[in-house]
Symmetry: C2
DNA sequence: CTGAAAGCGCTTACAG
DNA sequence: CTGAAAGCGCTTACAG
């Protein structure tokens, strides 16, 4: 049975075993400026690998005066049915950070607690702060005042735009969902939101207007979460005259439940009614028919946020980041040609 | 306008401003053994606060030879509809770590990649590793061989029990759900799982057996995820003779969808049929009637895992941790007295 | 009870 | 092109 090494090997051990100075080891391993024989270089690398050497990060960070660590600041009370899947986002940010050789420190904070400062500055070189549409936190301002490099995820619709933010353009998301229906041949398309959400509504309106399609007042529907409300809405939509042949929803969770209600009422999907959702939640692919929906490009957001933050930290050209990423359409079987409609050419 | 401090204050700054040695500052701030006048002590603390001093964590960790950091290792591909809500768990672990004054480092890894070692050892003092029921990773063994303090979340049903683990006893969870129905007066209760899950089934069987209630073979139903399967199952259950008056499900997501199917078939919930779920997902409280369900005590799990890991790291009595926590019942309105049944006394 | 000193492990100018 | 040395900021025995 092997014995685990008593203690982590240090740079001295590597230097001794390779017969060079500690400086040489450091310079070679970190790709520093050093002209050294290929032989010695190889030797150092081989020895380091054999000893399973990694520098003590505390010592290293003390010497280089950087923490090589990014902070991810998350809301303790995320909005219900938000377009951001926080776990997915966390995962993506962690991966991205690692690719840049940064550790990731997690910090949860309550946006309504206006006083508390996340304890991360000082132990991280910069932070990614995730904020909901309705969070009116002054944290970005405070971090900015403290000269702390910060990228906001989600600040795209704040009145006061953060210097560096990235957000998803849900408006365009709803626009492409609506356009998808239009391209299938639908003309009567209603918009159903689970909560007040003017950006998403704008996407619907833009798509309809561009296609010179009518928008009726009763086609803009806000229904909430309760079963009763959904039932009433379903019945109401069924009785409309003309009845919409396509429905764009602002949430998969609601769309999935409504699909079932419509079926109870005798409407077939997509034969009588085409439906699109938003979020691409797990069950959207389980239901029958599979729900056509819009997904937020979480990986892209994370990659961009991390790359930009690392850029600021490492003092590369500090341009601004004010990015709105487009949500993407995921086509499944809940959408088809309208009743009596012809397939598109 | 205030100027942000050029640089982080160091312990020298505090010592100078307070008129004491650096050692005194360190000792006082860390609660070390030092007999010093109350006056000086207060002065040090006041100055430290005023300067907003926090020790450089790199330097501190180098000196104390601990990283004051815990690792959280998460699976890249969590099981679908797992009983663990990974984001909730991450949140809870982060909070717990902070209460113990540890940072939390996130690391994702793919349990099927048997070779890769999470890069965390060396930068953390210990790790919490989350594993699914079906993950047959040798990571626990490798971490153990490397003497790395490790607590497994979810290893309760591995053949080879980890030395330190904590898991949720889903069996008892299903047991209390079943018992809840029994106490309401139900006698004919069926078990519906979305996937093979012998532990949960055991909970059902135990509850039924203890109450001396019959278990029919056709009352143990496995239905999967697809809409078609759910529809068939719903129809089949409706036609059963005797028909169950209570149904215990192994997943909220499935239970919610089935509730609707039953209603389509003319069965009222809970008047004709009582239903319980599992997981306490967000929509369980939105639907009507609200879904009675079972929740996993995520906070408790996180607290216990962190506390134990910190104990190991700080060399406190290193007893084993082999804990199975009980899931908890959340009573809503999808359960009631059976048709024709009397309310319990 | 205090203060000067060593040492944690690493990086990086700076002489040779 | 290399090697000896200083310094990053902190903690903790160890003399006084």
């Amino acid at each position: 049975m092997e014995l685990a090494p008593k203690t982590k090997p240090s740079i001295r051990d590597v230097a001794a075993a390779a017969g060079v100075s500690r400086a040489a080891v450091s310079l070679v391993l970190n790709g520093g400026k050093i002209r050294i024989s290929q032989e010695k270089r190889d030797k150092i690398i081989a020895v380091a690998r054999e000893l399973n050497y990694t520098p003590h990060v505390g010592a290293r960070r003390l010497a280089i005066r950087r923490m090589e660590t990014l902070g991810l600041v998350l809301p303790t009370q995320p909005e219900a049915l938000s377009e951001y899947n926080l776990f997915e986002l966390t995962h993506a940010v962690a991966e991205a950070a690692r690719e840049h050789n940064y550790d990731l420190l997690l910090h949860f904070f309550d946006p309504s607690q206006t006083d508390a400062m996340p304890g991360t500055p000082g132990r991280v070189d910069g932070s990614i702060v995730v904020l909901g549409r309705k969070d009116t936190s002054d944290l970005p301002a405070r971090l900015s005042a403290a000269q702390h490099p910060t990228v906001i995820v989600g600040g795209g619709f704040f009145v006061q735009k953060p210097e560096h933010f990235i957000d998803v353009d849900v408006s365009t998301g709803l626009m492409i969902a609506t356009r998808h229906l239009i391209q299938l041949g639908h003309r009567n398309i209603a918009y159903v939101s689970h909560t007040e959400h003017s950006e998403k509504m704008n996407g619907y309106i833009v798509a309809m207007t561009k296609a010179r399609l009518p928008i009726r007042k009763e086609w803009i529907i806000e229904i909430g979460f309760t079963e009763k409300a959904l039932q009433e809405a379903a019945a109401q939509i069924k009785e409309m005259n003309p009845r919409p042949t396509g429905l764009v929803f602002t949430s998969d969770a609601i769309a999935v439940r409504m699909m079932r209600l419509f079926r109870e009422l005798g409407l077939r999907i997509p034969a009588d009614l085409s439906i699109t959702g938003f979020d691409n939640i797990e069950i959207a692919s389980f239901v029958t028919p599979g729900l056509t929906t819009v997904r937020v490009p979480t990986r892209k957001i994370a990659d961009l946020a991390v790359r930009h933050l690392v850029g600021i930290v490492e003092k590369q050209p500090p341009r601004k980041l004010q990015s709105m990423l487009t949500a993407e359409l995921v086509v499944r079987n809940s959408t088809g040609v309208p009743p009596g409609g012809l397939p598109p050419m």
